[in-house]
């Protein structure tokens, strides 16, 4: 499997670290309450098809990446800098 890092280009999957669902970027506000944090920490979608994920280019440029991956075929649908996604620039 290969990922196309927006900075480094096409790279082997072994350079990357898989963190989890991209939902981790949507941390509730401090006062959001227990239910919101329970949902944020423990609950995940389990789609057949495109899944939004966070990957870290650990053995590369060390950028956090938002990756859309088809979990049934491993096809990489898109890769964006998490920083740009968070700031609405992707």
């Amino acid at each position: 499997m290969r990922l196309k890092c927006p900075l480094c280009g096409d790279r082997d999957a072994r350079e990357f670290h898989y963190r989890g669902a991209a939902k981790l970027m949507e941390r509730p506000e401090a006062g959001a309450g227990e239910a919101a944090f329970y949902d944020y920490v423990y609950l995940r979608e389990n789609p057949v098809g495109a899944n939004s994920e966070l990957w870290f280019h650990e053995l590369g440029c060390r950028a956090w990446l938002c990756v859309s991956r088809d979990v049934s075929s491993h096809e990489i649908l898109s890769v964006e800098l998490a920083d740009a996604v968070k700031r609405g620039q992707a």
Binding site: L7, C8, G9, R11, D12, R14, E15, H57, E58, L59, G60, C61, R62, A63, L81
Partner: protein
Amino acid sequence: MVDLTGLSALEGLLPYEVDGAVLSAVSYGAITSIMPFRGQKTAVNVRLKADGGAALPRIGRVSGPVAKRLIWAGRGQYLLLDLRRGAAFDTTPDPAFDELAALSDQTSAWVVMRLEGARAQEVLARLCPLDLRAGVFKRGHVARTELAHMAVILWRRPKGFEIMVVRSVAQVAMRRLSGAMDSVAAQAVLGEIS
């Protein structure tokens, strides 16, 4: 005060040579990390040029003269290298950059090795997943990548490659490289590779 003798992380271990490849240690005058603050890249470039250097290079590239060589070193990070061996340097970050970028002296944090020779690329191919063919990874190109599970900065030099690793893994990286050199040289002798 006792006069201490500074030793490199690879003291007495290099150069290492096999048929077709030579691995040697490189010692730079100074290595400074420059991480421009958000929105300050243009101002950093102005400052660097005022100091007689070049602007920050593009992603995966190198810029600047020999005493002020700049290499891209990852997201938002550049290394300023004084390539003159043993050049005297001031480790105090230049206050002119205070509002523009985070500067840190990393001279003793990195260990630099140079791999040269006709089979240098074959040696690296054993350890690194990057396409290092001369037509793809060219002069002036630099990459952050993996070398035997270690994070490295790999840089195309006139006669081969330079490999920068953090000091703590210097000897492991050196042994993996020399092992790959042995392997490539042995297979060449046995006629298993051309």
